[in-house]
Amino acid sequence: MSGFPFDTLLIANRGEIALRIIRTAKRLGLKTAVVAHAADEGSPAVAAADRVVAITGKTGVAAYLDGAQIIAAARQVGAGAIHPGYGFLSENAGFARDVAAAGIAFVGPTAEAIELMGDKIRARAFVAERGFPVAPSAIEDDDPVTFLARATALGAPLLVKPSAGGGGKGMRIVRDIALLPQEIAQARREGERYFGDGRLYVERFVEQPRHIEVQVMGDAEGNVVHLFERECSTQRRFQKIVEETPSSALTAELRARICTAAAGIAQAARYRNAGTVEFIYGNGEFFFLEMNTRLQVEHPVTEMVTGIDLVEAQLRVAAGEPLPFTQAAIASRGHAIELRIYAESAARGFTPTTGTVLALRPPGGDGVRVDLGIAEKQRITTAFDPMLAKLIVHGADRPAAIARARRALADFALLGCETNIAFLDRLLAHPDFAAGAVHTGWLDAHPEIGAEPDINPEIRKRLAAIAALATQAVREEADAVPALHAAIGAWRN
């Protein structure tokens, strides 16, 4: 008896988030089912779920985007609810509608809220009309003929974005206004390619901006709370790598203002379930960027400081229950940092890496959480996002959290596929990061952090020892030589 109106939850996702959702669902007494493409055979989510339904597609990604197949899978296992995770179908209003029409609870917002916030231009207008701050901009749809002129009039620097975009895809910074026409053409091509929608908008680019977002949660009765902010300014090419809470950029007064604004925006949208309102912050001002109508990758830092399980709250709201907490009951304690473990080479410009997980020993201990998306023997390909795992740490304050994170990174053994683990440690050790003086362009301006330092002679000696001892041919040659000859020296070479 779970107390939920459904007894089985289907997870329409993969990787670490599928496993993370399964964990909470199991704790709440729900049965779990997961859909899985063949490429995810052997993943920890597939191993942990009570039921696994195979899905197919031209590519792995296509399978997880196939709403009809997923709804059929839910019917097959008798799932009364579908959790979409993040990415894939999580912000697809049509899917949310189809799920509801099938009599299945969608663990997320209403299709209307997804539609509103998914159209970046409508969302922006909605937020601006209600008195919340947005950055100066030119929107192509307002008048396509004058779009270029209006964009040019804003003056450099500018940010060109696809209207239907997200996750940094197709975004371009323009510092030389003469390049605006060609950047617009390129962004349009990428928008068409990734989102099937070439419409654009251009907004003022805040130099050295900080990315600050606020976790919100609403229920069907119209209650909305915020769960404080997260700062995600450490990015490479608009992709977050490190997220933390609280933000070191905000005073208590600004924190209150930005969190209240986020809750206000969610309230105005009659927002239900978990969402994140993203802001750009610079020079003491913040502007609404967009609202993500789903659980975020970085939600665990919020869970670490508030002690609230956001997936549980999502499931309760999806079950029609009111929010299990009031605003006054939500407190933030200590400091939490999340590090995204990617299959990529920082030294080669963060290009993806591939391989097979030969050994995996994630760190543990007090204040350390690892949300894993991989298991030993699993093949890492470029078929999916390169994020393999998330390391989340909690400490009494920011320096304590950084120290704990560095210790945990050192303990993170992952062999068989090159990852960014060593790079993350160099990043945490950087004086700018320690000082909390990081903006979204910081990492791109410091490529030296990506470069791999030389191995010091002491480590080299130990690695050479391992190489020699682990290689049978090298050992056998030593074994074949009488000890006396070996003692004379290396004459025989």
């Binding site: 090419r237 050192a410 062999l415």
Partner: protein, 161 residues
Amino acid sequence: MRHAFDIGGTETEVWLSRDGAGYRLHGDAGEARIGLAAGRLDVDGVGEPVLVVLDGETIHVHLGGANYVLRHKDPARRFADEDDGGAGDAARAPMPGTVVRIDVAVGQPVALGDPLLVIESMKLETTIRAWHGGTVAALHVAPGQSFDRDALLVTLSAGGG
């Protein structure tokens, strides 16, 4: 015979001799009395935990808070590789990805800078252009195909345009 390993991009020659029940390390990285057993590396009597996984000629290591890849350079191939220089007039994949589109056909003459194919990695499209004028000698990939880093993409020959 000496063996060489690629350790952090540097070729390191090593050999062993017996030292009582254990071994002694010799070569570029220095000398030491060493042992490796039960997840523990001993160097001159000081031990520390280590995780080692062998994968063909590649040795994966977690040691002292970091992950390393060591490559055994096969003695037979070690010097042959260096003669490989002029053989491949080809573009290799700078990173793993997928082929979006191919703009040329085998046998087609191309001029310096002509687009040959478009690949996609990390959500970004990159156009591979002719690095000299000539003829498309071979296409090693097809549209939609995914590839690993260093995979052959297209080969040019000097003739033609």
